[in-house]
Symmetry: C2
Subunit: 235 residues, 2 copies
């Protein structure tokens, strides 16, 4: 009867490992075409390539990834399901913390990073219901729906806009707390309309006007900001 304990714990640990690797793979696959390399996965998870190599091999036997030694890995449909489930959890939690508990924008990410592995399906549903089945998290990233479908995102990096173009700031592509904090200080939040004034040459900043004020945004920052193009404004 006590034997169940032997089963119960190991399962959970195993699960969390798989979830983190699946999520990392998913995010790396997003723009990285064919297969994702061991080192890239290792870096993203903060482990050594040796550890990632071992783990990928194990996940392959469990049907979560397809793995060809020396040639990288890709998620199987099952692996993708796991990744999307985690991303849904993550983003719902982020939005929930920001919306319901007023947790600051730049701190929800790290909290969600750990909670995403520990909420039940039931709680996930309750949170989604409470928020009205939202489509975007507080960073503007799309939240996979109940069936794990991700709805298209038409945003482009801010650096894509030409001078004179208008865009609505939708999100920061990576969850970097210092960027978020900086933007909050400038009072640039998702939903804000930006007018691109110009671009300094040689990696110089992008000049944008927001709510009547003009800011100089560094290349790194501007490259991470996603905006939806808006017609008009060019004059």
């Amino acid at each position: 009867m006590t034997a169940q304990a032997h089963n119960a714990h190991p399962k959970r640990r195993t699960k969390e490992g798989a979830e983190n690797y699946a999520k990392a793979l998913y995010e790396l696959q997003a723009r990285g075409e064919t297969a994702v390399g061991t080192t890239a996965v290792a870096e993203r998870l903060g482990v050594t390539p040796a550890s990632a190599s071992g783990m990928l091999r194990r996940l392959a036997t469990e049907g979560v990834v397809e793995y060809t030694p020396y040639h990288g890995a890709r998620l199987t449909p099952e692996g993708e399901r796991i990744a999307l489930e985690m991303i849904r959890h993550h983003r719902l939690i982020e939005l929930f913390l920001a919306e319901v508990l007023d947790m600051p924008w730049d701190r929800v990410h790290s909290e969600a990073e750990v909670l995403e592995h520990h909420i039940s399906e039931e709680l996930e549903e309750l949170i989604a219901a409470k928020l009205g089945e939202p489509a975007l998290d507080p960073h503007g990233d799309p939240i996979p729906d109940r069936h794990l479908e991700v709805h298209a995102d038409e945003s482009v990096p801010l650096t894509e806009l030409d001078p004179g173009e208008l865009g609505v700031f939708s999100r920061v592509s990576d969850s970097d707390a210092s960027m978020l904090r900086h933007l909050a200080e400038l009072e640039i939040q998702p939903g804000a309309t930006l007018l691109v004034r110009g671009r300094e040459p040689f990696g110089g900043p992008v000049m944008v006007e927001v709510a009547g004020r003009t800011h100089a945004l560094g290349v790194e920052l501007a490259g991470s900001m996603r905006v939806s193009r808006r017609p008009g404004g060019k004059r």
Copy 2:
């Protein structure tokens, strides 16, 4: 730089173990006077006595418990702090889930059991603030305050009341989902006023009147229900 990963993970795992043992010890110490036996701890955590023995020895070296081989263990002040922190987390989460997300009464316990280990101090504070620094969780158990002080609880088991006495139902002493469900069906909730009608002899049920209806509550159930005595009613 990647070396930190070696440090980060192990710490967290270790912590969760200590937290669970501390909580178990605390609850067993509550009524169990002197020292708590290895087997009792093992049973509560669903592990073998051998495992508990090893873990208690390790926790002793970490200053969480005081442990005399063959003679049981007791929490140190540090251990008690850990236990109370977990209990505060647990009860705040229970109340939060019930209150804010309308999660059914009998399901909040298992969800809180896992989340209690994973919320940050910051989130704990936000939840407490959102709920208005509550003193009782949805089962009526007291929530340790921000400084981990537990405020007294004057309730007694329902079986203590004599026929004719009135009591206000405050909580169920253990978190047994089936009891909670059963009470919910009878529409007996914390805050309800009960009038003890009588007691059948030889381990028979306690007859109570609630909101005009009379129910027969088995000894086991009645023994787990805590009530606060109310003056009057004896006629």
